[in-house]
């Protein structure tokens, strides 16, 4: 997987073929398919591992004193930091691995990563006294917002992707207001 990651960075994700990867690993193409059904699955597995690392880092950094917004911000920011090595090709990987159109991702690695991410969100919600309801509108909204952040971040040209940090902050505030029911339209 390390070699595949190096090739994605070196040749570009689109241009790298499963043949290139198997050659770099010194194995037959068929053997590679025993582990990963496609290049997309392999790349999604790499991304999913980074997301998991990000979650671990978040758990280490969390002090328990954070407000809900801060906690969510810390979680996603830690994940984004762990995803940095994959930033240049995360767009096409997530398109195939975590399609917004599929209710459940067709890529098992993508689906697993989505579930693990949402489970952490659920834990954060619970720890701040919110109820976590699977497949609720609030979580659907969250997932859309989260994918939006990832899409923006993958193309963010600001130094250290600071623009995405600001976006992430706004987004988490919006989500917090949504789940706390503070969405009453202005009265005339």
């Amino acid at each position: 997987m390390e070699r595949a990651a190096a090739l994605f960075n070196e040749l570009g994700y689109e241009k790298t073929t499963t043949r290139d990867i198997s050659k770099a690993c010194g194995m037959a193409k068929g053997t590679l398919f025993n582990y990963f059904s496609s290049k997309e699955t392999l790349a999604m597995t790499l991304v999913a591992e980074a997301m998991e690392t990000g979650r671990d880092i978040y758990l280490q950094r969390r002090t328990g004193e954070e407000s809900f917004v801060e906690d969510m911000f810390l979680f996603v920011a830690s994940e984004l930091r762990a995803l940095r090595p994959f930033r240049c090709y995360i767009g096409p990987v997530l398109e195939s691995g975590m399609s917004v159109f599929a209710k459940h991702s067709i890529c098992p690695a993508g689906e697993k990563a989505r579930q693990a991410h949402l489970n952490t969100v659920g834990s954060i919600l619970t720890s701040h006294n919110y109820e976590m309801i699977k497949d609720s509108i609030a979580l659907t909204l969250y997932w859309s917002l989260y994918l939006g952040i990832l899409a923006h971040w993958s193309k963010d040209t600001s130094p250290h992707q600071q623009e995405s940090l600001t976006l992430l902050d706004y987004t988490m505030k919006v989500f917090a207001l949504t789940i706390s029911g503070d969405m009453t339209p202005p009265q005339d």
Binding site: R61, F73, L74, E163, T166, D182, P186
Partner: protein, 449 residues
């Protein structure tokens, strides 16, 4: 302009301002400072349109509503305020009503939460605040124009203040200046275009310096060296803990002007601090040939032991050698009440070849302003900065200048004006009386020797 912004602005003409913070956030999340650019564009073009007063009043109301909306944009509030302040220096461009609106609205950015600060630290210093410092207060104790300030303690026990810039603020405002540049292009055939453009470029240069904390730290250090051993204290900064976006400096004990005044200090104390503030500004001006572009009470700390903390060095402009020499010659002429030479100064700062080309009304107005500015310097003995007549005359003169001034003046004239106004207003708030003349002339002589 972004279609979303356009739609939003059209809607704003008929709809009430959204009342809940969520709605505001939702509406403005993406439009960012482009709305500001739109209104600055409007403000520029408005100067060349002929409408009746009623229409103008209506426009002003809309403008105010839009600016209030801008005030909801999270961290960008600080950015908008900064652009506003810089353009407030250029009434020739944006018009006095916009200047007044900018100055009347209080745009304070919301504080960055600690999770955000941790990310900024990791990006800037490669470590978390609690690794860098022995102790770091998670809540900011002061707001800076483009960031916030936290108390912290170094591992060796030194108490420090850590100024942290809002993420991506510099880039946002830089892009605003680009938009301004493009908007100005549309006016290129109009009167005074080249001078207006020069002002915008100059404001941009000052701003870019302010968002670079390394530049601020270096200027602060230069000042610290000249004030060492005096009653004016400039904090030292810590180079290993300072980057373009994080500035770590020694934390001085003391209070700001408002708290100082709330204690109803004696006249002697008021005079003492008025004198120290003036000394710090005049000395910095003559030694480094720089002028404060954004002088405000937050630049100073009133210390218990009678010393003055001089703490903010972000926004300044440097005179070129030639411009400095000219400034000094002109000041001398003003102090000697040499009308001809002062008129030559006015011709030069307004880019005219001779005094014959000057608009006589403008020149008369400027001469009156010069007289007002130099009064504390030519007055023998103590000057009473609390004199209501002096202040009222100054306010009326500057108002007249804003209404009748033109864009054809050099950038330093604007900065100097703003700095002088800032100084006089501080002295008035302090209600102080002291021998300003001696301080000024002493430093002037020192600089020549």
């Amino acid at each position: 302009m972004h279609p979303l912004t356009k739609t939003l602005l059209l809607k704003e003409q008929t709809k009430k301002i959204p009342a809940t913070s969520f709605m505001r956030l939702w509406c403005l999340g993406n439009s960012q400072a482009r709305i500001a650019a739109y209104y600055l564009d409007y403000a520029i073009r408005k100067n060349f349109l002929h409408g009746d007063d009623q229409q103008k009043a209506l426009n002003q109301t809309k403008l105010k509503a839009a600016l209030q909306l801008l005030g909801t944009m999270g961290y960008l509030r600080g950015a908008i305020m900064k652009v506003g302040q810089l353009f407030a220096n250029l009434p020739q461009i944006i018009g006095p009503e916009l200047v007044e609106i900018f100055e009347s609205l209080q745009f304070e950015a919301p504080p960055m939460h600690y999770s955000m600060i941790r990310e900024v630290f990791l990006d800037e210093l490669g470590k978390e605040p609690d690794e860098v410092f022995a102790q770091f207060e998670k809540r900011a104790f002061a707001a800076a124009s483009l960031g916030q300030v936290h108390r912290a303690r170094l591992h060796d026990g030194t108490e420090v203040a850590v100024k942290i810039q809002y993420p991506d603020i510099a880039r946002t405002i830089t892009s605003d200046f680009k938009t301004m540049g493009m908007l100005l292009q549309t006016m290129r055939l109009k009167k005074d275009f080249q001078y207006l453009k020069a002002h915008v470029l100059d404001a941009r240069e000052v701003f870019l310096r302010e968002v670079d904390y390394l530049s601020e730290a270096s200027y602060m250090e230069k000042n610290r060296q000249i004030f060492t051993g005096t009653d004016i204290v400039v904090p030292r900064y810590f180079p290993d803990l300072t980057t373009k976006k994080v500035l770590t400096m020694e934390r001085l004990p003391g209070q700001h002007l408002q708290s100082f005044l709330a204690q109803n200090p004696s006249q002697d104390k008021r005079n003492h601090f008025g004198e120290l503030i003036s000394r710090s500004l005049v000395q910095s001006f003559f030694r480094f040939r720089t002028i404060y572009a954004d002088l405000h009470p937050g630049n100073f700390l009133f210390m218990e032991d009678g010393r003055l903390g001089f703490i903010d060095f972000g926004c300044f402009q440097q005179f070129s050698q030639e411009r400095w020499r000219f400034e000094q010659e002109s000041e001398k002429a003003m102090f000697c009440h040499d009308r001809d030479k002062t008129l030559q100064f006015l011709a030069r700062i307004s880019f005219h070849k001779s005094t014959d080309e000057l608009d006589p009304n403008w020149a008369e107005m400027m001469l009156r302003q010069v007289q007002w500015v130099i009064r504390p310097i030519v007055a023998e003995g103590s000057f009473d900065f609390a004199d209501k007549d002096y202040v009222a005359e100054g306010v009326s003169l500057f108002k007249e200048l804003m209404q009748n001034g033109n864009g054809r003046v050099d950038c330093f004239y604007n900065w100097t004006n703003r700095a002088i106004l800032g100084h006089r207003s501080l002295m008035y708030r302090l209600q102080c009386k002291f021998d300003y003349r001696s301080i000024y002339l002493h430093e002037m002589r020192q600089a020549r020797e």
